[in-house]
Symmetry: C2
Subunit: 297 residues, 2 copies
């Protein structure tokens, strides 16, 4: 496969995901129109598309059909977007802006936001279990199992529940690490795992990729904490400085800025070291890891 720079890959994935979501979520001519418009508002035309990018970059290690990769990436992105819609709700983080636009409950209403999230959640599993995603039902079933675990109480949603408790009590570093591994890490790990499942890499061969995904997920979260303190609201597209305001412990509050930066750098090096068995075909995964430290949104 021809080498692909990170910038090229990001552009390709963004366009691909937007095109797919645009055709998947077409507004019907009935009373569900606001629901579909809300789903489109949240899902199309925004976001870093990091998760579909990771599916694609991992699948490049193997010979995987482009359409399978795109559909799996879209499914994981649907779960990510649903979680953002629900996290932004007044009862949760109560955010007004996301990706530079009003959040769904602001642009529509709370009921529509709850249902739009629920629909994207269901769509993710509809996409993965559709024979169009992969001809082998074992692959489809594994993709579903991995995403469902990553999304549920032992993963993303469980991490968000811990995060809500974080405002009420003081978490130590191991607890914050576990919380973030669930809240953000699980879906990042699932994206890399999806690439390996599509590539039919047996579980015993996934140790390196799993190590990469774990370290990348933590580095990503530390970088996010740093952005929350140092970032530019216009570039990030959402309200910042929220963690300190809510009295939540983060990597930054527990480690301080210099040690947090050092920790993130070390995790990125570790993530890249996990890719040692792979040659140039893993360069995109390496670039993604490095980019974690440089991003401004």
């Amino acid at each position: 496969m021809a080498p692909l720079s990170l910038a090229e890959a990001l552009a390709e994935v963004s366009l691909d995901i937007d095109t797919r979501l645009d055709s998947l979520i077409s507004v019907p001519d009935d009373a569900r129109a606001p629901l579909y418009r809300a789903m489109r508002h949240a899902a199309i035309g925004g976001g870093k598309r990091l998760r579909p990018l990771l599916v694609m970059a991992t699948a490049r290690l193997f010979a995987v059909d482009r359409d399978c990769v795109g559909r799996a990436g879209m499914a994981i992105e649907c779960v990510h977007v649903y979680s953002l819609i629900h996290d932004d709700l007044p009862a949760m983080d109560n955010d007004d802006m996301r990706r530079g636009k009003p959040t769904v409950h602001k642009a529509f209403d709370e009921a529509t936001a709850i249902l739009a999230g629920d629909c994207l959640h269901a769509l993710a599993f509809e996409i993965l279990s559709d024979p169009a995603t992969h001809a082998d039902p074992f692959v489809r079933s594994e993709l579903v199992l991995d995403l469902a675990r990553a999304a549920g109480p032992a993963g993303m949603a469980g991490g968000q529940a811990m995060d809500l408790e974080a405002e009420k009590c003081t978490f130590d570093l191991p607890t914050v690490t576990r919380l973030q591994a669930m809240k953000t890490g699980a879906l990042i790990a699932c994206s890399v795992e999806a690439g390996a499942i599509l590539g039919k890499l047996p579980p015993e061969g996934r140790t390196g990729l799993r190590g990469y995904a774990r370290d990348l997920g933590l580095a990503f979260q530390i970088a996010d904490d740093i952005l929350d303190v140092e970032g530019d609201e216009a570039a990030v597209g959402k309200k910042l400085h929220k963690d300190a305001g809510a009295g939540k412990e983060t990597f930054l509050s527990l480690l301080g800025l210099p040690r947090a930066r050092e920790q993130a750098r070390m995790l990125v090096d570790q993530a890249i070291a996990h890719l040692k068995p792979y040659g140039a075909e893993a360069d995109l995964l390496r670039e993604i890891a490095r980019f974690t430290l440089e991003r401004d949104r």
Copy 2:
């Protein structure tokens, strides 16, 4: 298979589902404890368990392993319970009581209710895609696809979105029928379909069962509308007389009580007629259809 009365089947399914959910949702010793307690509050010890009963009654037409049937029923029930939690939220139907207990956002809080619903939603797909549900990955993948479609914007959640719009405009009988076929009918149809998928009945052989499920779903909803007007709040376990208060059109408001009753009876007869190809092994499905008209909750 030995005949099973409806009362015996209901008791067996209730106990089986409660036992399964009890062991699936065990409260962890960390900050997620409230989340898990909320899931248990909503999912365990209540409800008619109509959907798992339909999976079981349909699977009786074929030789299906009991454990597969129980797991598939539990998954569909998880989606049903998640939808009740979200529908009860203040931004949606704003209900304080459900199944004779405070709703989840009343017993816990709104954020926990949203997340508990999300977790049950994810768990449903984790259960279905787990090899423990069926050894054949094609069966698992089909179960997931069918449930995801039934739950999403073309099914249950789409129906709920239409229902929210129903307060703002006046729906005619075909629109109310479509709304209810999505909101309640889709998951009922999915339960029967799951039994057929587990029984490895090919799609072209499912016409009768699909007709049964469609008519049963509508009869069930008309009976629900009648209960909303005539039922006893203590027996039903939730607030009644809501539809009229919200100015929503229902089968009852559009048809009037005598014609609604007649319509429900006719649908039950039709549902039973669809089972003509089956002998005594379908008696439980027939009993379920008749029970629809007699239930008091």
